[in-house]
């Protein structure tokens, strides 16, 4: 009889313990969720779609052989190679996210941070980057302007 009561007590106690634990976890979650949600940034609003180079950017491209422009919230390296073709690749190095540059003399794309080299299609030539730079489509227009198409093509 007394055994029975203590067993009953035990199950009642463990049930209450469970209830207390579960409600503590639920309480904690309901406090933490807004904080976590607050810290996670909103997706960036901004123009998406094809981007036309501005007059200043075109001038910079003429002068330096390359320019870095914002396209749909990304940094894109637009360069003019030796054959005067315009090419565009993502400017964010796939290694640790530095901004790459075009070395006209070596006809290569170079990241100064950890000495990585890419060819003009974004393929890794040397250094630590694990992936090629994504390519963008660059179109020369009839009026001499340059249009960068935001949809990037996956490299082969």
């Amino acid at each position: 009889m007394s055994n029975n009561t203590s067993a009953q007590k035990k199950t009642r106690r463990s049930f209450l313990d469970f209830l207390l634990g579960a409600s503590s976890v639920a309480w904690l979650a309901s406090v933490l969720y807004p904080v976590i949600r607050y810290l996670k940034p909103l997706p960036r609003a901004g123009a998406v779609g094809p981007t036309r180079l501005t007059r200043e950017e075109l001038a910079k491209l003429e002068k330096d052989h390359f320019v870095i422009v914002p396209v749909s919230g990304k940094r894109v390296l637009v360069l003019r190679n030796a054959a005067q073709e315009v090419l565009a690749v993502d400017a964010k190095c796939t290694h640790e996210g530095c901004t790459v540059q075009y070395l006209a003399a070596e006809s290569a794309i170079w990241c100064a941070c950890h000495n990585a080299r890419f060819d003009l299609d974004g393929r890794v030539l040397s250094g630590p980057p694990p992936r090629p730079l994504p390519k963008y489509a660059a179109e020369r227009q009839e009026d001499g302007g340059i249009l960068i198409v935001a949809e990037r093509r996956q490299n082969e």
Partner: protein, 463 residues
């Protein structure tokens, strides 16, 4: 007349209310052990705290001028250093003190390591110190971004980008840290909050715990001291020496801050404001992080794009995390020190770690570089030059340990030197050389352990 306030003196007044006599008695009897080893190591925690206090004072002063924001951060620092009376000095002291604090902290940590002061009952003092060290690096890293110049921008881009290699939550963590997919003004706001509120609060709480532990247990006596060592009175003898040393540190700090307001000009110790951050400018040649992150910077360069099915940076993060995790739990690994016996293996581990970091740091500094620093030929020469310097340092360390301390345990420093020699002198890749050295060291340490166990078993049998 009965006075509930007790005695007439202030002390009596306080004592009757807050019972301060036991506290005063405790401080009066507090002693610092005088050991066989030099007492200089007991002062390094104090100097670290001194530099931290300088950081708090100058930090608050800088805060009165600094305005975080895309259009104001850089401008306010420029105004501070060029227009505000002694603004340049406050910034210079803040920067110098940060570097000196880290130097002092690294020396404090390694001396604790070498003297095995982490052994029971002081394991948690080591762990709190370890967290304080991590927080200090966090201070350095977050403070670096605040001037919002080009160097800060890329240093933060690279430093935070490594977070994406964390499994599962990496991308989420990166977004939370940066306040978006890239480093923007949002990152600046977050780092500002981190640098001036979150880290200082955490740091002060932990330093309180760390000091409480030290006060409760006293400073660690020398290893293997059979009898209670003779002590030096904390008040006034040790405390006055502390103050004297802090005064000396302050003078050194002021001289450096006045005569070299933008740092000594070596890469990683240079805080010239330079140009404003520009997200659309490429990273400039020769860009490097602060000197205490150079080893990590160089390690990132040494990892190939892919290895064992992981990306280079992921594997690099894994290796670094593993090494840092071992460092955190040393008090539980070092069984000999737990028994109050010398543990030469762990001294050797400490020295091996120093040599490992030395080589990477020297290499990141491009010691011995030819004109075209980034060329393959130049990198080879840099590796060779740095290998010779590290081997020289290693030989000196081993010499001192053999001749002065009579140490006979060199597997890990040996492995670190073999690693450097294979890589720098014989042209093996950094990782291949490291793997060979690590396997050899592992084999030697295991053989040594088995042999020791054999000797112990034999001794037990003979008895």
């Amino acid at each position: 007349m009965s006075d509930p306030g007790g005695g007439r003196s202030l002390r009596g007044w306080l004592d009757s209310r807050y019972q301060i006599t036991p506290l005063i008695e405790f401080l009066r009897h507090k002693e610092v052990p005088k050991g066989q080893h030099s007492m200089v190591w007991y002062y390094l925690g104090g100097t670290t705290m001194f530099f931290f206090m300088v950081q708090v004072v100058t930090g608050v002063l800088l805060l009165m001028c600094y305005q975080p924001g895309e259009a104001t951060a850089y401008e306010s620092i420029r105004y501070l250093t060029t227009k505000v009376p002694f603004g340049w000095l406050m910034r210079s002291i803040h920067c110098w003190s940060a570097h000196l604090m880290i130097i002092s902290l690294v020396a404090h940590m390694f001396s604790t390591m070498m003297l095995k002061a982490y052994r029971p009952p002081r394991e948690l003092t080591w762990v709190t110190g370890y967290i304080l060290f991590a927080l200090t690096l966090g201070f350095g890293f977050s403070g670096y971004l605040l001037p919002w110049n080009k160097l800060a921008f890329f240093a933060t881009s690279v430093g935070t980008d490594l977070v994406k290699s964390v499994p599962v939550v990496g991308n989420w963590l990166l977004q939370v840290l940066r306040g978006g997919p890239d480093v923007t003004a949002n990152t600046l706001y977050r780092f500002f909050a981190l640098h001036v509120v979150i880290l200082p609060l955490a740091f002060m709480a932990l330093i309180g715990i760390h000091l409480l532990f030290v006060q409760r247990q006293g400073m660690a006596p020398p290893l293997g001291a059979k009898t209670a060592p003779r002590g030096m009175k904390f008040f006034p003898s040790f405390a006055l020496r502390d103050v004297l040393l802090w005064l000396f540190c302050f003078m050194v700090l002021l001289v450096l801050a006045v005569f070299l307001p933008y740092g000594p000009g070596i890469p990683g110790m240079d805080w010239e404001l330079g140009q404003k951050a520009d997200a659309l400018a490429p990273a400039f040649p020769g860009i490097k992080p602060e000197w205490y992150f150079l080893w990590e910077y160089q390690l990132l360069k040494e990892f190939p794009p892919h290895l064992f099915g992981l990306e280079g940076p992921q594997l690099c993060l894994l290796v670094v995390t593993l090494l840092l995790a071992i460092w955190a739990v040393i008090p539980w690994l070092d069984r000999q020190a737990q028994r109050d016996e010398p543990s030469p293996g762990f001294s050797d581990f400490g020295w091996g770690a120093i040599l490992f970091l030395t080589f990477l740091t020297l290499k990141a500094w491009d010691i011995g570089a030819t004109e075209n620093v980034a060329s393959a030929a130049s990198i080879k020469i840099i590796s060779r030059t740095c290998a010779w310097w590290t081997l020289g340092a290693g030989a000196a360390i081993i010499g001192v340990r053999v001749l002065i301390h009579g140490h006979r345990w060199f597997f890990l420093t040996g492995a670190a030197l073999l690693h450097v020699a294979l890589h720098g002198l014989f042209g093996l890749s950094y990782l291949a050389a490291g793997a060979i050295a690590a396997i050899l060291a592992g084999a030697c340490v295991t053989a040594n352990l088995l042999r020791n166990d054999g000797i112990k078993a034999n001794a037990g049998g003979a008895r």
